[in-house]
Amino acid sequence: MSEAATAKVFKPAPPVDRITVKVDGQVVVVPKLSPDWQGKLVPTTMIQACEAAGVTIPHYCYHPQLPVAGNCRMCLVEFGTPALGPDRKPVTNPDGSAVINKSPRPAIACATPVSPGMEIYANTPGVKAMRQGVLEFLLINHPLDCPICDQAGECKLQEYSVEYGQSATRFVEAKVHKPKAVDLGPRIMLDDERCILCTRCIRFTRDFVGDDALGIVNRGSYNTIATYPGHKFDNNYTLNTVDLCPVGALTSKDFRFEMRVWFLRETKSVCPSCGTGCNLLIGSRENRIYRYTPRDNPAVNGPWMCDAGRLDYKWIARDDRLKDARGSRPEVRTWRDVLAELAGRLRPATAGSVAIVASARLTNEELYLIRKLAQRLGAATDTIPHLGDGDRLLVNADKNPNTAGARLLGISAKPAGANLNDFAAGIRDGLIKTLIVFREDVTRFGLGADLLGRLDTLVASNVLPNETTKLAHFVLPGCAPAEKRGSFTNIHGRVQRITKAVEPPGDARPEWEFLGELLELITDRRAPATIEGLFNQMAGEVPAFHGLRWAALGDSGVTMPLEPGK
């Protein structure tokens, strides 16, 4: 074996290669390679190095989660590289510093890799003039209809105009006119005159979704975003293009003209529509929800979410929401009386006479309280699985947001729903006398009206009325996830917080609140009165959650091993 080969064998693993560059005079060390939009390691770019140096480069077309297009030219910077002598070694100044050859041409920061010793000049008069030039070009044919534009307030044209715009226009020609209010698909409207042709929308649907639905037609300044003639832009991710669009060209039919964005209060939460638990922001004003938008979480959804989840908020404001707590007699209608009556019925119940159909739509904290209740009453529990279509992107086939939580807390049978037959038999045989149902219509799952009619006590907690709530002796109106705090455990074991954005209607209350009170009435032991306390108690008690603290969940959650011990 040759010496070289032997030497190779003992060579330690190479450390991460790093490159030292200067950004506006400031030294930064960056990895030689950085992940691209698909996570593949590719040479680190100038824009990433600038980011590391805390210097933000204005940009329109660049998006870290999309392939680089390099078309807007807003990110142009000047730069230099170390001068090399004939021996290919860097030439130095008398003071030992490297001689830098300034490039005669600028480069786009979003696509140009950094090299050792490179100097990036991101704020020179020349760079500012280039940005001004690009912005002027973008604005000459723009309709400048900001007062009626939905993007106003979150528009990058407006933003950069403040920094690089000129107050007077020198453009005296006729503007290019393009189609307005183009119906791109069931959820998306396009104003081609506002479009700056950054192709973010095209790249997103083509490269991320895999639906090559959008393209550009015509030439030059007449370029126009369009679908293939006769085709609609209709996949389950179209609304992400509204977020991606740096201007007001793409708008959500659901949200457009509904509310100026700066009036919206944004609340960090999690989508309850499937087992993925995409992180989102609830946009609300005066107790009304106007929109959901995705909140970037690289561990879960990145910056995206599906259209179905995004629009799944309308039911929260439905008029027929359950608003009143109800006991078995008409006069029992305050929460205090209803819970007192219910506690009175449950306290003497014998083991096995109570069954609980909980729901994987409830939070971990709520399921934890149900677990305590079940333990005290000797009640069997289960949840009902809700399966639908999933995809290879974000949507999970499991339509419950907390299936993993219900399993880890021992609420679900194995598999979930397996106990329902036993419940039916138990009711038929008169063994089960009390059934408590959360968030389900059990009449659709084998526990029909005839069976329910045999029960001494039927308790239903829900947010919307259904056959079960109609038949129930006790009705406990609960909350939509947007109306309460708590946590869900997603399908991969990530425990994530939900936050209250709006108040529930009428007397409806978060389930964890009244469950805690009910438990106290039955056990004489007080449950923690806060979500923090409840979560931390659960984490101490339930092995699957050991080691977690509410505070540590932060805004983006923590992933637990789904099978403890692993």
Binding site: G70, M74, L76, P106, N141, G220, Y222
Partner: protein, 470 residues
């Protein structure tokens, strides 16, 4: 010594009786150079290295000093040396036959009259670069040209010059003809590649998409002009060193000059590069034969409409080296510039695609620029902001100026728009192509633009006053 034509590429094309079929080509020695190339044996250099036949051919091309005839004049040997040969991916050769630069009509002479010469050049170039699949991307409007090429390919295939195991030398090659998508930008090499892949011809960003590394189908790709590839045949025939004796240092070989505009004898002429001056090309009876009677020279567009114009009488400074090695500065009339890559570049323009367009003193310079700008506004692919918006803006302003809507400040207005487009601000060189004419026309004929604008403005004011009076 007066300039003369030196026909290398067009040696036979215009000979009476010369036909584009294989038999005629072979009667004139066709495919003999290919046979020579394929018969090359590995060679050992004095320093003990063994050069494969492919390496030898590439070296000949480097030695020849051949510069691309498509527009940029980039060294062909250098282009080939940049090809990523270690990627494990196939290497493609694409012949750029999009010929769309206004004023350019040379490639079509070769394709229509001597298609096998191009094929032979391509087969040799493919062999030299281990290419197994090559494309000819031909301008969409050249319908007949595509047919001629396809016929030639069929003939070459039948004769064993294409297909499997060419000339029993163990080399396989297919050439496909692809008709272009009817846009000027399809001639830009990365736009061409996108178009060849079936997409809009949006030029690619470089980095990372250098064709030599990530070209057609993300594989290493060589894009060469028709004329460039033909020269390869002659380089291999003559030997690189011998070829380099043609032309002038750094500007070797011959090149086809396309002369158009207001001259007596528009047409194409093949000359040794740098051996003819602009004056000779325009005025020599053997070339352009001068202007029409009574006309004076006003402007020369020296390398296709995207090159910066020269104004008649303009003096240019050329740096050179004297016999003692000292730097010399030579001031000459623009007409005395040798028509080569280096001199025109040094004079602030370029020889581009070899298209010389002559405008005489009957020309309305504003209208001429307006015409050019209309072309560019129509041809910008619209991908990147400065070119997309700037090209139409300039065109609209010029249209206004040629239709009585001028303003005194329009010369500055135009110059400022144009200044925001070139110099690396755009994805491809179209940014330069559309702004250089404006910069140079307005810069060199500012008085005419200003006068036109001021006259329009004055007329409008007078009309306004007349209108208020009545």
């Amino acid at each position: 010594m007066p300039a003369v034509e030196h026909r290398l590429i067009l040696k036979h094309a215009d000979t009476p009786g010369y036909t584009p079929d294989l038999a005629c080509y072979q009667r004139h020695g066709g495919y003999d150079v290919l046979k020579k190339a394929l018969a090359l044996a590995p060679k050992t250099t004095p320093d003990g290295k063994t050069l494969s036949p492919q390496e030898q051919l590439r070296q000949e091309v480097t030695t020849s000093g051949l510069r691309g005839r498509g527009g940029a004049g980039f060294s062909c040997g250098m282009k080939w040396s940049l090809v990523d040969r270690k990627s494990g991916k196939p290497i493609y050769l694409v012949c750029n036959a999009d010929e769309s630069e206004p004023g350019t009509f040379k490639d079509r002479q070769i394709i229509y009259k001597d298609p096998h010469q191009l094929l032979e050049g391509m087969i040799i170039s493919s062999f030299a670069n281990d290419v197994r699949l090559a494309y000819i991307y031909i301008r969409g409007e050249f319908v007949e040209g595509a047919k001629i090429l396809n016929r030639a390919i069929a003939e070459a295939r039948a004769a064993g010059f294409l297909g499997r195991n060419i000339l029993a030398a163990g080399f396989d090659l297919e050439i496909h003809v692809h008709r272009g998508a009817g846009a000027y930008i399809c001639g830009e090499e990365t736009g061409l590649i996108e178009s060849l892949e079936g997409k809009r011809p949006y030029p690619r960003i470089k980095p990372p998409y250098f064709p030599a590394v990530l070209g057609l189908y993300q594989c290493p790709t060589i894009v060469n002009n028709v004329e460039t590839l033909c020269h390869v045949k002659h380089i291999v025939a003559m030997g690189g060193a011998e070829y380099a004796k043609l032309g002038t240092p750094n500007n070797t070989g011959t090149r086809i000059v396309c002369l158009s505009g207001q001259v007596q004898r528009p047409g194409y002429f093949e000359v040794e590069v740098g051996k003819a001056t602009l004056r000779e090309i325009i005025f020599d009876p053997a070339f352009g034969g001068g202007l029409r009677d009574g006309r004076k020279l006003k402007t020369i567009i020296p390398g296709g409409v995207s090159s910066k114009v020269f104004k008649a009488g303009e003096k240019v400074k050329l740096k050179g080296r004297g016999p003692d090695g000292k730097e010399t500065v030579n001031e000459l009339d623009v007409l005395d510039l040798p028509y080569d890559f280096t001199s025109l570049m040094a004079a602030g323009s370029m020889s581009g695609s070899g298209a010389v367009i002559v405008l005489d003193d009957s020309t309305d310079i504003v209208a001429a620029l307006a015409n050019i700008s209309t072309f560019f506004a129509h041809e910008s692919c619209g991908q990147c902001t400065p070119c997309r918006e700037g090209s139409l803006w300039m065109s609209k302003a010029l249209d206004r100026l040629t239709h009585g809507g001028g303003r005194a400040q329009d010369a500055d207005y135009l110059a400022k728009i144009a200044d925001n487009i070139p110099g690396g601000r755009t994805i491809c060189a179209f940014g330069e192509a559309c702004s250089w004419p404006v910069q140079s026309f307005v810069g060199k004929f500012k008085d005419e633009f200003a006068a036109k604008g001021a006259a329009d403005q004055a007329r409008r004011q007078n009309n306004g006053q007349a209108a208020t009076k009545t």
